[in-house]
Symmetry: C2
Subunit: 304 residues, 2 copies
Amino acid sequence: MSLLVVGSVALDTVETPHGKGVDILGGSATYIASCARYFIEPVRLVGIVGSDFPQKYLDFLRESNIDLEGLQIRDGEKTFRWGGKYDEHLSGRDTLFTELNAFEKFDPVIPEAYRQSDYVCLGNIDPGLQLRVLDQMTKPKMVIGDTMNFWIKGRRDELLKTIRRLHVFILSDSEAQMLSGTKNLVKAGTQILEMGPPVVVIKKGEHGALLITKDAMFTATAYPLESVYDPTGAGDAFAGGFLGWVAKTDDHSFENLKRAVIYGNVMASFCIEKFSVDAIKNIQSSDIENRVKTIYQLSQFEVV
Amino acid sequence: MSLLVVGSVALDTVETPHGKGVDILGGSATYIASCARYFIEPVRLVGIVGSDFPQKYLDFLRESNIDLEGLQIRDGEKTFRWGGKYDEHLSGRDTLFTELNAFEKFDPVIPEAYRQSDYVCLGNIDPGLQLRVLDQMTKPKMVIGDTMNFWIKGRRDELLKTIRRLHVFILSDSEAQMLSGTKNLVKAGTQILEMGPPVVVIKKGEHGALLITKDAMFTATAYPLESVYDPTGAGDAFAGGFLGWVAKTDDHSFENLKRAVIYGNVMASFCIEKFSVDAIKNIQSSDIENRVKTIYQLSQFEVV
């Protein structure tokens, strides 16, 4: 099986109550690929950076067995930069700056060798670009997509076109509420199913995630962490773990999608323990399995 | 097994986006007893009302097989009244008025016949009164207690004394955060365990509940409702279902406390479907079991 990730590769400046990281490796494609590669290798990445993108980050991605043929390095331009500051409880954040730089001209050209990828993950980018990616793909077995409030507000029509072509639409609770106009998440999920994707996953942060299809529903608990260092990338890590698991097993049954949600939660739990990809650099597969088992034990009970 | 509930019996005036109820039956003891009685009968109730308390409500409580020997009816006084208005999403509410009336002089005298009750549920009342109840009991097998922000802020020392004498302390997520000073619920739960009770249950509304002991943890999903009519009493309904199940089974194992949390979630899900106790008046035991099974199916998965 082959897995393609398209999204942003960025240099983030992040402030949390625990510290500050300047120009640290970030971006949706970075987090997704760094997590998916624990399940399937190599992960193919399509994105764009400037010529200022540090060699050490390129080395890290390559050493993580991420195929960078699709990473455009734009000469003389700067890499996309994002700056954000979290509140003391890490529950809210302010964007301090967004410098699109090279990303502004991003045209996601899919290398010939990638076009037959079995699994495609569309990270959070302009829904028009997400569509452009899909137009270049032969016939992927599964396409999952992510988005954010910015596109829901500003590019709703284009986003609705993209959503219709997804197999799995993954979004956060607040995004689901905004998109559907409904506070109740069960109702929001049901309404989003009607927009086209056969599977919807609503991420609820510390409250886990909700998996919904027309016929079934699953509520997954989050891995319980007593402290969070930096929530940046958690949603992308979830998507990477989710699709990584599905691609590895090549099993689209509801039972297996449930497990994919659990792997998504586990990868997100690692992600937020340190800045950037620091906590997802060197995970042992036994660490992943142990957290899956913990979630299993946490959420199982017997009916008598 | 015998079960005693002590708490408020009130006339509520509630406004939600769905409608308004004036002087409808409410109060913590009312909701707790109305739910617990599906598991064990009769449920003994200690509370206070004024002579204006409608006969139809007394009839309803009696017909629900709730023993009212401990319900004081104060001649010439008015019943405790509470008025509240929920926001459009039913997630926040404003208290419009609180008239303590007869409740102001409530001295929870436990009838002789009640003092050996096996199970005791202390509804949300002044923690000093909760202590006074415990001082009158012979040796209950399990005491569970509830509280609210008002007592955490205003009667912290007294509340800490009460908590130490509980077997199970049930509180909401926001109450747990306020009491512990910690936003993270896993950490908050751990800190509250150190205040004395061997078991802590944190209710998270639509996100379910967290059961914590020193050795184990369980995360229960909520019963998924697409719409909520009136959230009043949900926490009390949870407590009634929880303790009702434990009393019925007389099994204090962690495995059985998990099931108690599920029954708590189920009773809360019925409670919020209508005003007052309207939705918990005539539940069939098969309805309860069906919701337990739904939660089971929603939250179970297999590890491969």
